[in-house]
C-alpha cells in the first residue's frame, strides 16, 4: 500500500510541478480522477508502469549492449555456452517476486472496488441503442440522456460543421446524470437491447451493461464538476455517439435539483391524470346510458 501511495504522490508531483505542460501530460497518461478509487487505480497504474520501465531499462540495456559489443564486424569470437542453471533460476524467481509485489496492492484495491455497501444514493443506468436511461431508485425521477444536438449535427457524414467549433464534441448530452458530491453513489447497470459499458474515466471504472442482468459499481466524487465518458462496449452503428456525462453538485444544490425534478414530474403527470379521470367518468356515463336503454 505504501508503495502505491508513494508512486501516486510521485505521479502527482510530476503533474503538479509542470503546470504548463499539464495538458500535454494528461494527453499522454491515465487520468488521476476525482474519486478515492480512481486515485488508487492511478497509483497502481503508475506503480506497474515504473516497474515495467525499470525492467525494460535492464533488459533492453543488456540487449543493446550485446548488439553494440558482440559484433562479428568487430571480430567478436562466439562463446560456446548454451545454458547456465544459476542464471536461469535467478531470472525465473525474480519475476515471481516482482509479480507478488504487484498482486498484493492490486488485490487490496479489488476488494475495495467490490464493496458497494453503505451507499447513500442508488442510480439505475440502462443502456439503449444509443442512449442511456438514468433512474433515481426510490426517488421517482428518471430520464433519458442522449448525444447533444450540436454534436449530433456535426457528426453526420460530410456535415460541413467543424468538430473543433462544437463545444465538447461528442462528449455532451441533453440531460446529464446529476449526483451529490462526497456521497457514496451505487450504480446499478443493465441494458435493454445489446451490451453496452458505462464509463467515466474520472471515476476510475467502467462496467458492462448486460441485458437481463444487473451489474453494480460505486463511486464517491470528491470534487464538484462535470465529468465525461463514453460507452465502452461496441453496441452497433452509433456506439461512438452515446456519451456519458455526470454533473457532480454539492449536496444542497443536488437536493434542490432533485426536488425540482420531482416537482416537474408531478406537474407534468397531474394534468394527464385529470384527463384520464375525466375520460373514465365519461365512459362510465356512456355505459350507464347504454345500460338504461
Amino acid at each position: 500500500m505504501k508503495m502505491v501511495k508513494r508512486a501516486f504522490v510521485a505521479g502527482m508531483a510530476l503533474v503538479g510541478a509542470s503546470s504548463p505542460a499539464m495538458a500535454a501530460w494528461s494527453d499522454l497518461n491515465l487520468r488521476v480522477g476525482v474519486t478515492e478509487l480512481s486515485r488508487e487505480i492511478y497509483g497502481l497504474h503508475m506503480l506497474i508502469l515504473w516497474i515495467c520501465v525499470a525492467i525494460a531499462v535492464a533488459v533492453f540495456g543488456v540487449m543493446i549492449y550485446s548488439i553494440a559489443t558482440f559484433r562479428k564486424s568487430k571480430g567478436a569470437v562466439p562463446a560456446t555456452f548454451d545454458h547456465n542453471t544459476k542464471a536461469e533460476i535467478i531470472w525465473t524467481v525474480i519475476p515471481v517476486v516482482i509479480l507478488v509485489a504487484m498482486a498484493v496492492p492490486a488485490a487490496r484495491t479489488l476488494v475495495k472496488i467490490d464493496d458497494t455497501r453503505g451507499s447513500e444514493l442508488t442510480v439505475k443506468v440502462t443502456g439503449y441503442q444509443w442512449k442511456w436511461q438514468y433512474e433515481y431508485v426510490g426517488e421517482g425521477v428518471s430520464f433519458f440522456s442522449s448525444l447533444a444536438r450540436t454534436s449530433d449535427e456535426a457528426r453526420q457524414l460530410d456535415s460541413g460543421i467543424a468538430p473543433a467549433s462544437v463545444e465538447n464534441y461528442l462528449l455532451e448530452v441533453d440531460n446529464p446524470l446529476v449526483v451529490p458530491q462526497g456521497r457514496k453513489v451505487r450504480v446499478l447497470i443493465t441494458a435493454n437491447d445489446v451490451i453496452h459499458a458505462w464509463w467515466v474515466p474520472d471515476f476510475g471504472m467502467k462496467k458492462d451493461a448486460i441485458p437481463g442482468f444487473i451489474n453494480e459499481m460505486w463511486f464517491r466524487a470528491d470534487e464538484p464538476g462535470v465529468y465525461r465518458g463514453q460507452c465502452a462496449e461496441l453496441c452497433g452503428r452509433d456506439h461512438g455517439f452515446m456519451p456519458v456525462v455526470v454533473e457532480v453538485l454539492p449536496q444542497d444544490e443536488f437536493d434542490a435539483w432533485l426536488a425540482a425534478q420531482q416537482a416537474a414530474r408531478q406537474a407534468a403527470s397531474a394534468p394527464a391524470a385529470q384527463t384520464a379521470a375525466a375520460t373514465n367518468v365519461e365512459n362510465v356515463a356512456a355505459l350507464r346510458v347504454a345500460n338504461a336503454e
Binding site: 499522454l28 497518461n29 487505480i41 497502481l44 497504474h45 506497474i48 508502469l49 533488459v59 533492453f60 540487449m63 548488439i67 558482440f70 559484433r71 562479428k72 562466439p78 562463446a79 560456446t80 555456452f81 545454458h83 547456465n84 542464471a87 536461469e88 531470472w91 525465473t92 519475476p95 515471481v96 509479480l99 504487484m102 498482486a103 492490486a106 479489488l110 472496488i113 457528426r155 457524414l157 460543421i161 467543424a162 468538430p163 473543433a164 465538447n168 461528442l170 437491447d193 445489446v194 451490451i195 459499458a197 464509463w199 474515466p201 476510475g204 467502467k206 462496467k207 448486460i210 441485458p211 437481463g212 442482468f213 465502452a232 462496449e233 461496441l234 452497433g236 452503428r237 452509433d238 456506439h239
Partner: protein, 531 residues
C-alpha cells in the same frame, strides 16, 4: 501376379518426376513445398486485403468528424479487418512456413497426410471467399467485432450465416492442418532426431497444433449456438429465455486466449531459429525454451476471463484470472532472457532476418509489458476496451507475430528460391516497417490512457493529434509492405545464387541447410541420420 510385379517395378521408377504443368499443379498438388508456397501467397494476399481495411479505418480517423464512411460500415471494417488478419493472414502464414519447413527440419520427404494438406488449403480459400462475399449481403457485412458478441451480432443481416460458415470452414482447415503437423512430427522424424533434438520451430508448432485441436471445436460450437439462437430461436445467449450473453464471452475467450498463442508461439519458434544463426552460438537454454512454451500453452487455458474483467464477475473469479494471467509473465520472461543470453558473447551480424528478429525482441517485449499492466484487474477497469488494448495487441501481433513471419520469410526464402533477395531493398523494407509500425501503434497507448474507447468511428477533438500521427504511421507502414512484395517477386525471379548452407555456419542449426538451394521438389527420399 505379373501385373503386381509390373506395378512394383513402376513404383521403383516413379521418383524424380517434377511438378505437374500449369494450373493443375496448384489445384491438385500434394507436395508440401507447393502447398507451403500457396499458404504463404494466400496469407500475403489476405494481409493486403485486411491491411486495406485497416487503412479505411485509419483514413476515417485521420481527423475528427465523419468524412468517408458510414459508422455501420466502419464497424464492418474493424470486424472483418480483424477476422481476415487473424484467420487469413497470420495463421495461414505460419501454416505455410510449417508446411515448407517442418519436413525439411525433421528430415521427412513430405507431410504425413499430403492429400488432406491440399484439402485444408483449398478449404481456407473457400472460407475467405465466403467471408469477403458476406460484405455484399443485404444489411452489410458482419459489424459486431471479430469477437461476435451476442446480442449485437444477432442484429447482423444475411451476412451472419455466411460469416459463421466461413469460420466453420476455416476452423476445419486449421484442425486438418494441425493434425497433419502433429502426425508428421510424431512419425516422420529422421532416425536419431529425438523430441529434445527437434528445432524450436518444430517444437513450438507441435504445441500450437495441440492448442488448435483443443480450441477450434470450442469456437465452432460457440458460433453454431449463435446460429441456432438466430434462426431456430434457441436462447443460449438470451436472458429472456434463460440464457446468458456472458456465457458466449466465456466460451469465446476459452477459445480466444489459446488462439492468441496459436499466433505467437510459431513466431517464438522462428525467432529461436534465427537469433542463434546470426549470433553464431547455440540457442541458450534449449530445454527451458521448450518447457516455457509448454507452460505458456497450459496457462493459456486458464486465463481467458481476463478479456472480460468488466462483465461483473464475482471477486473470487476476478482475483483468480488476474493472478493466473500475471503468471504468464514468468515463462514469457524466460524466453526473452534466453534470446538475450543467446546473443550474449556471440558474434552478431545483422542480416535482414536478424534485424526483424531483433525488432521482434524489443517490440514484442513492449507488448508484453502492456499485457502485464492489463493483467492487473483494477487498473484494467480503466484500460479495458480503450485504444490501450488496441496498442497492446497490435504490438504483439504486428511487430510481434508479423515481424517474426517476415524474419522467417527472409531467412528461408533463399532456400526456397535458390537466390539471395535484394539485400539493400530488404533493409529499406525493414527500417521503414520498424519505424512506421511505432509511429502507427505507439501513440495509441496515449489515446487509450487519455480515454479514447476502441471501435469508434469518430472522436472528441482532444484525441485529434495522436490519431493523426497514428494514421500517418498506418499509411507509411502499408506502403512499405509493397516493397516487401517487390523483394519477394524479385527474389523468385532471380538473383545471386546461394549455397546449400545459405548462411555461414547455418548447417549446425538445422537439416534444412543440408539440402541444395533451391530445395529440390522432393527432398529426403532417404532419411538423413541425426547424431
Amino acid at each position: 501376379m505379373s501385373a503386381t510385379q509390373t506395378q512394383a517395378q513402376a513404383h521403383e521408377h516413379h521418383d524424380d518426376h517434377g511438378p505437374a504443368k500449369g494450373l493443375k499443379r496448384w489445384l491438385t498438388t500434394t507436395n508440401h513445398k507447393d502447398i507451403g508456397t500457396m499458404y504463404l501467397v494466400f496469407s500475403l494476399l489476405m494481409f493486403f486485403i485486411g491491411g486495406g481495411m485497416a487503412l479505411v479505418i485509419r483514413a476515417e480517423l485521420f481527423v475528427p468528424g465523419m468524412q468517408l464512411v458510414d459508422p455501420g460500415f466502419f464497424n464492418t471494417m474493424t470486424t472483418v479487418h480483424a477476422l481476415i488478419m487473424v484467420f487469413g493472414a497470420v495463421m495461414p502464414a505460419t501454416v505455410g512456413l510449417a508446411n515448407w519447413m517442418i519436413p525439411l527440419q525433421v528430415g521427412a520427404p513430405d507431410m504425413a497426410l499430403p492429400r488432406m494438406n491440399n484439402f485444408s488449403f483449398w478449404l481456407l480459400v473457400a472460407a475467405f471467399s465466403l467471408l469477403i462475399l458476406s460484405l455484399f449481403m443485404p444489411g452489410g457485412g458482419p459489424a459486431a467485432g471479430w469477437t461476435l458478441y451476442p446480442p449485437l451480432v444477432l442484429q447482423t443481416g444475411d451476412a451472419l450465416p455466411l460469416a459463421i460458415f466461413a469460420i466453420h470452414l476455416a476452423g476445419a482447415s486449421s484442425i486438418m492442418g494441425a493434425i497433419n503437423i502433429i502426425v508428421t512430427i510424431m512419425n516422420m522424424r529422421a532416425p536419431g532426431m529425438t523430441l529434445l533434438k527437434m528445432p524450436l520451430f518444430v517444437w513450438t508448432w507441435l504445441i500450437t497444433a495441440y492448442l488448435l485441436i483443443a480450441v477450434m471445436p470450442v469456437f465452432a460450437g460457440a458460433v453454431t449456438m449463435l446460429l441456432t439462437d438466430h434462426f431456430f430461436h434457441t436462447t443460449f445467449f438470451a436472458a429472456a429465455g434463460g440464457g446468458d450473453p456472458v456465457l458466449y464471452q466465456h466460451i469465446f475467450w476459452f477459445f480466444g486466449h489459446p488462439e492468441v498463442y496459436i499466433m505467437i508461439l510459431p513466431a517464438f519458434g522462428i525467432v529461436s531459429e534465427i537469433i542463434p544463426t546470426f549470433s553464431r552460438k547455440p540457442l541458450f537454454g534449449y530445454d527451458a525454451m521448450v518447457y516455457a512454451t509448454a507452460s505458456i500453452a497450459f496457462l493459456s487455458f486458464i486465463v481467458w476471463a481476463h478479456h472480460m474483467f468488466t462483465v461483473g464477475m464475482p471477486l473470487a473469479g476476478t482475483m483468480f484470472f488476474m493472478l493466473s494471467t500475471m503468471l504468464i509473465a514468468v515463462p514469457t520472461g524466460v524466453k526473452v532472457f534466453n534470446w538475450t543470453a543467446t546473443m550474449w558473447r556471440g558474434s552478431l551480424s545483422f542480416e535482414t532476418p536478424m534485424l526483424f528478429s531483433l525488432a521482434f525482441l524489443f517490440l514484442f517485449t513492449i507488448g508484453g509489458f502492456s499485457g502485464l499492466m492489463m493483467a492487473i484487474a483494477p487498473v484494467d477497469f480503466q484500460y479495458h476496451d480503450t485504444y490501450f488494448i488496441v496498442a497492446h495487441f497490435h504490438y504483439v501481433l504486428v511487430p510481434g507475430a508479423v515481424f517474426a513471419i517476415m524474419a522467417g520469410v527472409y531467412y528461408w526464402m533463399p532456400k526456397w528460391t535458390g537466390h539471395m533477395y535484394d539485400v539493400k531493398l530488404s533493409k529499406i523494407h525493414f527500417w521503414m516497417s520498424a519505424i512506421f509500425v511505432n509511429v502507427l501503434f505507439f501513440p495509441q497507448h496515449f489515446l487509450g490512457l487519455a480515454g479514447m474507447p476502441r471501435r469508434i468511428p469518430d472522436y472528441s477533438t482532444q484525441f485529434a493529434d495522436w490519431n493523426m500521427v497514428s494514421s500517418i504511421g498506418a499509411f507509411g507502414f502499408g506502403l512499405s509492405q509493397l516493397l516487401f512484395v517487390y523483394v519477394i517477386w524479385k527474389c523468385a525471379k532471380g538473383g545471386e545464387r546461394v549455397s546449400a548452407e545459405v548462411w555461414d555456419g547455418a548447417r549446425v542449426h538445422g537439416l534444412e541447410w543440408t539440402v541444395p538451394s533451391p530445395a529440390p521438389y522432393h527432398t529426403f527420399d532417404e532419411a538423413p541420420v541425426v547424431k
